[in-house]
């Protein structure tokens, strides 16, 4: 999980943040050498962290399992990168501020804040007692809802209007959802520990916040839907839009699952079960990763100057990933509930819980194999693109060969290449 979060999500997220911030501020990237060097330091930190865990120097803190010497490296290299994004924003040429830029800025500030706070309390001040797990849960939940969600939404608020070719349906709704998310999310997190030896108000407030987070989700989903309305054919054709659209659905699913698991009635069965992994993984994969793939399909042709080689490979990547992340979510939820229900009988040992969830967990491995296959194809495709071996043709690659009546919309899809 740590490798997935710090080894994939953050690199992908930072790449998209840098490109998108430069694009939206209509400037050149400032100080690219610092960015590259800091990026390498980040990678070194993550590698050291993963090796540290395997060598037996891990910590018991959720999503902070890296050995404690790693966190300053990650914090400093992240800050070195985002400082230049903020400078880019401050030095932008005058003009409208897009909603994506707000989200990007929020993500710039949220990670250092969360990471510094969590590590100060857990690794520097120490002696946290039972507050320790609550702080770790707060951190893990907010990395999902206060870092990945803003980066993912920045990307979808950028790509959806760009490809559909019209502005976001409602700017007020978007700004309402942004402030809702930013104001409510930092309260959530400790609901993982319902029934734990904590002051009862702590999981209660956190659970309430998690449920209230459905309001911005609703606003965002409604806004995205109305923006795409009338152009659903494009979702079928454009790779970036299709991945982004699926990612937005993933965001809604993740939030609904997280809200459900925060309710006391269900938490009785799902607390400390695999169901909690369903939320984390669908957040990281179904929402964030799919949205990032959408952004990559949009950005890479504009950087390398050539188009994706084959629609068939993109189709393969999309369907295998989609199938796998739906399977991940459903299997983990099912495993969680059967596990929780089996554990809820007084006289059985854990054998029931383990054997009931066993089949689902085997299915889970299959789902991961699907993801490996999809990403192997994607990696090969991407490598060819980076080597500038892509198609040099003018028109963007579509998932299906376009039918003649699509030609009017095709103009819109390629429009981004010139901007």
């Amino acid at each position: 999980m740590n490798a997935l979060v710090y080894g994939w999500a953050f690199q992908a997220g930072l790449g998209v943040m840098i490109w998108m911030m430069a694009r939206l501020c209509r400037t050149e990237v400032k100080n690219p050498i610092t960015l590259v060097v800091a990026g390498h330091f980040w990678n070194v930190g993550v590698t050291a962290g993963v090796i540290g865990i395997l060598a037996g120097y891990g910590s018991p803190m959720k999503w902070l399992e890296f050995p404690s010497m790693v966190w300053p490296i990650l914090l400093v290299s992240y800050s070195m990168i985002v400082v230049w994004l903020v400078v880019m924003f401050a030095a932008r040429s005058k003009g409208d501020v897009f909603i994506s830029q707000w989200y990007l800025l929020a993500a710039c500030f949220s990670f250092p804040w969360l990471y510094l706070t969590a590590n100060l309390f857990l690794n520097v001040f120490q002696k946290t007692g039972v507050a320790g797990p609550a702080i770790a849960s707060w951190y893990a939940n907010n990395i999902l809802f206060l870092w990945m969600v803003p980066v993912g939404l920045a990307s979808s608020y950028f790509i959806i209007p760009k490809i559909v070719g019209k502005p976001i349906h409602s700017y007020q709704l978007a700004s309402f959802a942004f402030w809702g998310l930013v104001a409510i999310s930092p309260w959530s997190g400790a609901q993982d520990l319902i029934g734990g030896p904590l002051p009862a108000w702590l999981p209660a407030v956190a659970g309430t916040a998690q449920i209230l987070l459905l309001i911005p989700v609703l606003a965002i989903a409604f806004n995205h839907y109305l923006t795409v309305k009338g152009h659903h054919r494009l979702v079928e054709l454009s790779p970036s839009l299709r991945f982004t659209f699926f990612g937005s659905i993933g965001y809604a699913i993740t939030s609904v699952c997280a809200a459900l698991l925060s309710s006391l009635t269900l938490a009785r069965y799902t607390g400390f079960s695999f169901a909690q992994d369903a939320v984390a993984l669908s957040g990281v994969y179904m929402f964030f990763t799919m949205t990032m793939f959408g952004a990559i399909y949009f950005i890479v042709p504009r950087i390398t100057g050539c188009e994706w080689i084959s629609g068939g490979r993109i189709r393969f990547h999309f369907w295998w990933s989609t199938y796998a992340c739906i399977a991940l979510c459903v299997l983990l939820l099912a495993a969680g509930f059967s596990h929780g229900a089996a554990a809820d009988t007084w006289d059985s040992d854990m054998s029931g819980a383990i054997t009931f969830s066993y089949g689902y967990l085997v299915g889970l491995i299959l789902a991961w194999l699907f993801i490996v296959a999809a990403n192997a194809v994607f990696l090969h495709h991407l490598a060819l693109m980076v080597c500038k071996r892509g198609r040099q043709a003018g028109a963007a690659t579509l998932i299906h060969p376009a039918a003649p009546y699509d030609s009017a919309e095709l103009v819109i899809t390629t429009e981004g290449a010139e901007a």
Partner: protein
């Protein structure tokens, strides 16, 4: 809202208040938490008082054995990924009545296992509440392995030798196989035939495994709560 300064100010205030309430306050409460002495007062005064047998003791009592070292091994080996150490109250689960999760190991739990409270983790730097319950809860594991040290080591060495359905990984790196000296070590594992080492060799726990076993044997989080915490009415005698 187009100015960066305003944006940062509002964003900052959105972050600071919840961080204070959800992180700093609970942390400060833990730092200030003290052990509590059991109070022995005259029943005549009508004030609540604790059981006479607890006279002079305080709660929670110090953890026996090589605790700190064992706790560190427990943390580093990632035990929290699959084992919790908490008994939830009855509104949040059946933990209090679960067979073998409290003091009694056989039969129905007649006296519910006490739910764990904040004080139970007072001596720990980071409470090992755990993330998942892939394995059984260990809040009171000390009772389960009382006088069964070999069982505990066997669980660590080869979990499926004890329970065929177990999904726990084995921790063979916490043990060494070495030539027997004389009659062999007292600590040598009594292994089933399929796992037993070759003739003349024995499998013994390393000092890390011994510290971990000490830690697990000391896990007994059901010390009676002082009335000053529970606020219970005095029992009529």
């Amino acid at each position: 809202m187009n100015s960066l300064k305003n944006f940062v100010l509002i964003l900052g205030s959105c972050f600071v208040v919840p961080t204070y309430c959800m992180v700093a306050r609970p942390y400060a409460a833990e730092r200030n938490r003290q052990t509590v002495r059991y109070v022995m007062e005259d029943p005549g005064s009508g004030k609540p008082f604790d059981d006479g047998a607890l006279k002079g003791l305080s709660y929670p009592s110090a953890f026996p054995g090589d605790r700190k070292r064992g706790e560190l091994v427990y943390a580093r080996e990632g035990c929290v990924q699959c084992h919790t150490q908490l008994i939830r109250p009855d509104y949040a689960g059946i933990d209090q009545f679960k067979k073998g999760w409290g003091r009694d190991q056989e039969g129905k739990t007649v006296v519910p296992t006490r739910q764990t409270v904040m004080w139970d983790y007072l001596h720990e730097d980071f409470a090992m509440l755990g993330q998942r319950r892939v394995g059984p809860d260990l809040a009171n594991a000390g009772y389960r392995f009382q006088d069964k040290l070999n069982d505990l080591y066997l669980y660590l060495y080869a979990p499926r030798a004890r329970k065929a359905w177990s999904s726990s990984p084995g921790y063979k790196h916490l043990f060494i196989t070495r030539p027997k000296e004389g009659a062999g070590s007292d600590l040598a594992l009594k292994l089933p035939p399929n796992l037993a080492p070759a003739e003349g060799l024995e499998v013994v726990p390393t000092s890390e495994a011994r510290a971990l076993a000490d830690y697990v044997l000391g896990l007994k989080r059901d010390q009676p709560l002082p009335v000053s915490i529970t606020g219970a009415k005095p029992e009529s005698k």
